[in-house]
């Protein structure tokens, strides 16, 4: 009898913890303070205005009109068409703006067959200005590449084009367009600063 009572008491004491199981939280249930609080709980003091407005897009250039296929080529089964990839990077920064355009082409008419070179352009549709990025030749297979680096920002441009130019071209204007792509417009988050947060509220006039 005594043993029975003792056993019941011990079992009762041990089962007390089961009462709090629903609400009890172990230390493992609490994330450390370094864990990211995502969603609506996220607290951030990040202000995108402290960063320079940066653009990095990859556009795919294609022919401006219908393509006349020259054939599948030796042993090939798929029709090929001239195409290119352009990676455009631009940083708007008063101090040291850096921009970069990398173009790689495929299946252009080779320069030896075209009897000419290719020239890459950035075009601004609003003003009609065309910025020449330089010339390059296409090898057999239509492979060509161009790297353009400039201390400038390229936000204003809407279209990237590749034109065909004669060898040793002394005319700066563009020839027939071979490849074209539109550049997605930049959508920078540039909120109006609060006048109460400005040290010099009169500087707001510059925005």
């Amino acid at each position: 009898m005594r043993k029975l009572l003792l056993t019941i008491a011990i079992v009762a004491l041990l089962s007390l913890s089961a009462i709090g199981l629903e609400t009890y939280k172990t230390p493992f249930d609490f994330p450390p303070h370094t864990a990211p609080r995502i969603g609506v709980q996220r607290v951030t003091n990040y202000d995108p205005r402290v960063n320079f407005q940066h653009m990095r897009v990859v556009v795919y250039l294609g022919p401006p009109g219908p393509v006349q296929f020259k054939g599948a080529g030796r042993g090939g089964s798929s029709a090929f068409y001239p195409r290119a990839t352009a990676e455009i990077q631009s940083t708007t920064w008063y101090g040291y703006p850096k921009s970069k355009v990398d173009i790689n082409t495929k299946d252009l008419t080779p320069s030896a067959d075209l009897h000419g070179v290719y020239e890459a352009w950035l075009v601004d549709l609003d003003t009609g200005y065309r910025n020449s990025l330089g010339t390059f030749t296409a090898a057999y297979g239509g492979v060509g590449e161009l790297q353009y680096d400039v201390n400038n920002y390229l936000d204003a441009y809407d279209i990237i084009e590749i034109t065909a130019e004669p060898y040793d071209d002394s005319d700066v204007l563009p020839g027939p367009v071979v490849l074209v792509a539109s550049i997605p417009s930049t959508n920078y988050f540039n909120p109006e600063p609060k006048s109460s947060k400005m040290v010099n509220p009169s500087a707001l006039s510059t925005y």
Partner: protein, 277 residues
């Protein structure tokens, strides 16, 4: 019979074998002696034991080719014309192909207008354009720095190497490097910035070279490389632009300079002869 065989065996083992071995040894020595010093006629190798031996035992290698009695013929010495044997060569170098001008003048004729020359600057082995351009105010304004009147000015250097045919750089990738330094430029606001351009007279097209942030308010510099040739442009201009600028066209011209063509530069457009196919 058995005794005779054993004597013969002993004789072979004790006398014939040693004699044979000694004879073989002597024959190989005698056979190797003539070629002990120079045992090759291979002139292509410059390293290894063969070449080392050759250098030690036969340092005057030219005798092998010409013989000891050879002397260099005293002909065609100091002439730039073709040799007497090969009439289509002469004065060959990395810079000229064939010396077949109808002159054999050895003197520098300088500015002699009667000088006959078939030199074509377009076919040089190393096509390059190296021009320095002085930049002066387009609309001169009175400026003074510490009560001293100053003139805004600048220098641009255009250096083109290579052409679309692949000469000069071994690859058809022409490159132009443009270096611009400005001084005493009028100070600009924080929302204004200078921008450099190449200007073409015929079409009025301006090629953007990049923006120039004033370093110490009155000086600015730019180093820009573009993969194209720029000999078709006539001017270098520096403009003042708002920052940031939605309009990529050139604004108000601050400085301008002319790229003067050199006397030796051929200005014919080669695309007149070669059209796009």
């Amino acid at each position: 019979m058995i005794v005779a065989v054993s004597i013969l065996k002993r004789c072979i083992v004790r006398i014939v074998f040693p004699v044979l071995i000694i004879a073989l040894f002597l024959v190989s020595i005698v056979a190797a002696l003539p070629t002990f010093q120079v045992y090759d006629n291979n002139i292509d190798s410059y390293a290894g034991q063969i070449a080392r031996d050759r250098r030690i035992f036969d340092p005057y290698t030219r005798d092998r080719y010409f013989g000891a009695d050879y002397y260099r013929p005293y002909q065609n010495f100091g002439q730039k014309g073709p040799t007497n044997m090969l009439l289509n060569t002469g004065a060959k170098s990395a810079y000229s192909s064939v010396f077949n001008l109808d002159t054999n003048s050895m003197t520098n004729e300088g500015r002699n207008p009667g000088r006959i020359s078939n030199w074509d600057p377009k076919v040089r082995g190393y096509p390059r354009l190296d021009k320095s351009v002085s930049l002066l105010p387009y609309d001169p304004v009175e400026q003074s720095l510490a009560q001293t009147p100053v003139l805004a000015q600048g220098t641009a250097r255009l250096l083109s190497i290579g052409d679309v045919y692949g000469s000069g750089m071994d690859k058809p990738f022409p490159q132009t490097q443009i270096q611009i330094v400005l001084q005493n430029i009028p100070p600009s606001d924080d929302n204004e910035i200078y921008e450099a351009w190449l200007l073409d007279d015929e079409t009025g097209y301006a090629l953007n070279l990049g923006i120039m942030k004033p370093a110490a308010k009155t000086t600015a510099e730019l180093l820009f490389t573009i993969p194209r040739m720029v000999y078709m442009f006539e001017h270098v201009i520096i403009t003042k632009e708002p920052f940031p600028d939605e309009d990529p066209r050139p604004g108000e011209i601050i400085l301008a300079g002319n790229i003067d063509p050199a006397r030796s530069q051929l200005t014919i457009n080669p695309s007149y002869f070669e059209r796009l196919r």
